[in-house]
C-alpha cells in the first residue's frame, strides 16, 4: 500500500481534540494535519490514552509504523469505536495532528476504514 502523506493547514480546530486525560498537547502541531493510508498493526486500547498503530508502506518499499493517539477506552466507546473495529490487518486512511519533532506520531482526528466506515474519536465527549 502506497503512503499518502498530506500536510495541510488545519481549519476549525476543535480544542477538545485529544489528550484531555493526562498531558498537554504541546508536542503536537495543531495547525497541521497528516494523513496516511496503511494497515492496522495493533490497537492499544488502554488508559489514559489509546494508540492505533498503523503500518504505512513508503515509496521505497520500506514500512513506517505510525502511532495515532486518542482517548481511553470509555471515551472511544462513547464515540462508537470498539477494539474490534481495528483488528490487525484492517486497511484504513487516518488523519491527525502530527508530532512537532517529526516522529511518526499524531493526535488522531478521524479515520476511514477500507470498507468506507468513518470514525471520529473526538465525538466521544459529546453528551447523549
Amino acid at each position: 500500500m502506497k503512503i499518502k502523506l498530506a500536510v495541510a493547514l488545519a481549519s476549525a480546530v476543535l480544542v477538545a481534540t485529544t489528550a484531555l486525560a493526562h498531558h498537554s498537547t504541546v508536542m503536537f502541531d495543531e495547525e497541521q494535519e497528516v494523513t496516511v493510508s496503511g494497515v492496522v498493526k495493533e490497537f492499544q486500547y488502554t488508559n489514559p490514552h489509546s494508540w492505533l498503530l498503523v503500518d504505512v508502506t513508503n515509496e521505497d518499499g520500506s514500512v513506517t509504523t505510525w502511532g495515532f493517539e486518542a482517548e481511553g477506552p470509555s471515551t472511544l466507546m462513547r464515540a462508537g469505536i470498539r477494539r474490534s473495529d481495528f483488528s490487525p490487518g484492517t486497511e484504513l486512511t487516518i488523519t491527525g495532528h502530527p508530532m512537532k519533532d517529526g516522529r511518526p506520531g499524531a493526535a488522531w482526528l478521524h479515520a476511514t476504514r477500507g470498507d468506507g466506515t468513518e470514525f471520529d474519536p473526538r465525538s466521544g465527549f459529546a453528551i447523549r
Binding site: P48, T65, S74, D101, G105
Partner: protein
C-alpha cells in the same frame, strides 16, 4: 433548610464547543474579563461571602436543615448510571464562556499573577500537567475531570467515583466529624463529611493537597476547603452547588454550579474499569528542561527516540 440556594442558572453544553476554530495556545493568549454573574448567581456568591469559612457555611446549612441529617434506606435516591460533567473540561466555571475570557474566580494579586504567567507560558507552547506523572487529579480538580463518574449512595456513606485514576471520594454521612486538626494531613481527595437535607447531600471537605483547578485555571493551596450541595434535579441531571474557600488564592469564595449528565447506555457498554496509568509505555510523558511536555520513547519506533 432554606431553598434559597438553588436558583436556575444558565449553563450549556454548547460550552463544549467554546474555542472552536482557534488553536488552544493562541486562544488562551487572549485576556478578557469574564461575564458578570446573574442576580441568582450573585445571591449564591453572597451566601458564601456571608460566612468566613467553609465550615461556617456548612454549619449554617446544617442549622437550616430539618431532620437529623441522616438518610433512611427507603429514602436513598437513585443516582445510578454512568455520568459525566457537562461543562467544557478546561473551565472550572461554565460561565467563563469562551477560551478568550479569564476564569470567574476573584484572585489575590499573587495568584492572579501566577495564573497570568501560566497562561503566558501556555501561549508559548510551554505546558506541563502534573497528571502526566501519574498523579491523581485530587479535589477540587476531581470535579472537572471529563471522563466517566458513578455514584453509590448508602445511609452511612456516599461514594463519588471518578473513572480517571480510580479516584473514590468517600463522604461520611454517619454523623462523624473530621479528624482533629493535630491529626490532619493533606490528602489527594481530602476528608469529606456530609448530611442529608431531604434529597440534597451537603458535603464539607478539608485536608486537600495543593493543585490546579485545570490547566488554564488558577491554582489552589492545601488550605482549600469546599462546601457542596448535590441534588438530582432530573432523571438525567445532577447539579452540584460548590463554594471553594482558599484565602491565599481567593479574595472571596468561588461559587459555581457544576452539572453532571447521565449518559445513554442502553447496551451497558459503558463501564468504569480499573485505570492503570502505566500500562502503556506510549503514554509516558516527561517534563522537558524548559518546563514543557514531551513523549518519552515510543514502542513503535526503532530506537531510543527521546
Amino acid at each position: 433548610m432554606t431553598k434559597l440556594y438553588r436558583p436556575c442558572l444558565s449553563l450549556g453544553a454548547v460550552l463544549i464547543l467554546a474555542g472552536a476554530a482557534m488553536p488552544f495556545e493562541h486562544a488562551v493568549a487572549q485576556r478578557q474579563a469574564p461575564p458578570p454573574p446573574s442576580p441568582e448567581k450573585q445571591a449564591m456568591i453572597d451566601l458564601g461571602i456571608e460566612h468566613e469559612t467553609a465550615r461556617g457555611l456548612y454549619d449554617y446549612f446544617r442549622s437550616e436543615a430539618g431532620g437529623d441529617g441522616t438518610l433512611a434506606w427507603e429514602d436513598v435516591p437513585d443516582w445510578s448510571g454512568v455520568w459525566t460533567r457537562e461543562t467544557f473540561v478546561f473551565f472550572w466555571d461554565g460561565d467563563q464562556g469562551t477560551m478568550d475570557t479569564l476564569p470567574t474566580a476573584k484572585l489575590t494579586p499573587e495568584y492572579e499573577r501566577r495564573l497570568l504567567e501560566k497562561l503566558d507560558r501556555i501561549a508559548q507552547d510551554i505546558e506541563y500537567d502534573p497528571l502526566s506523572a501519574g498523579n491523581p487529579a485530587g479535589m477540587p480538580r476531581w470535579i472537572s475531570e471529563p471522563f466517566l463518574k458513578d455514584f453509590a449512595v448508602t445511609p452511612q456513606q456516599t461514594w463519588l467515583i471518578n473513572e480517571m485514576m480510580n479516584e473514590i471520594r468517600r463522604v461520611y454521612t454517619d454523623g462523624r466529624d473530621h479528624p482533629p486538626p493535630e491529626d490532619a494531613y493533606p490528602l489527594w481527595l481530602g476528608d469529606s463529611i456530609g448530611f442529608w437535607d431531604e434529597d440534597r447531600l451537603v458535603i464539607h471537605t478539608n485536608q486537600m493537597r495543593e493543585g490546579q483547578y485545570q490547566r488554564i485555571q488558577p491554582e489552589y493551596t492545601d488550605q482549600v476547603e469546599t462546601v457542596e450541595i448535590w441534588q438530582k434535579t432530573a432523571d438525567d441531571t445532577i447539579e452540584v452547588d460548590i463554594w471553594v474557600y482558599d484565602p491565599p488564592v481567593l479574595v472571596e469564595p468561588w461559587y459555581t454550579r457544576q452539572v453532571f449528565k447521565k449518559l445513554t447506555n442502553d447496551e451497558n457498554a459503558l463501564r468504569i474499569r480499573y485505570w492503570h496509568f502505566n500500562e502503556n509505555q506510549n503514554n509516558a510523558v516527561i517534563e522537558t528542561g524548559d518546563g514543557s511536555s514531551d513523549f518519552a520513547d515510543f514502542t513503535f519506533t526503532d530506537q531510543d527516540d527521546n
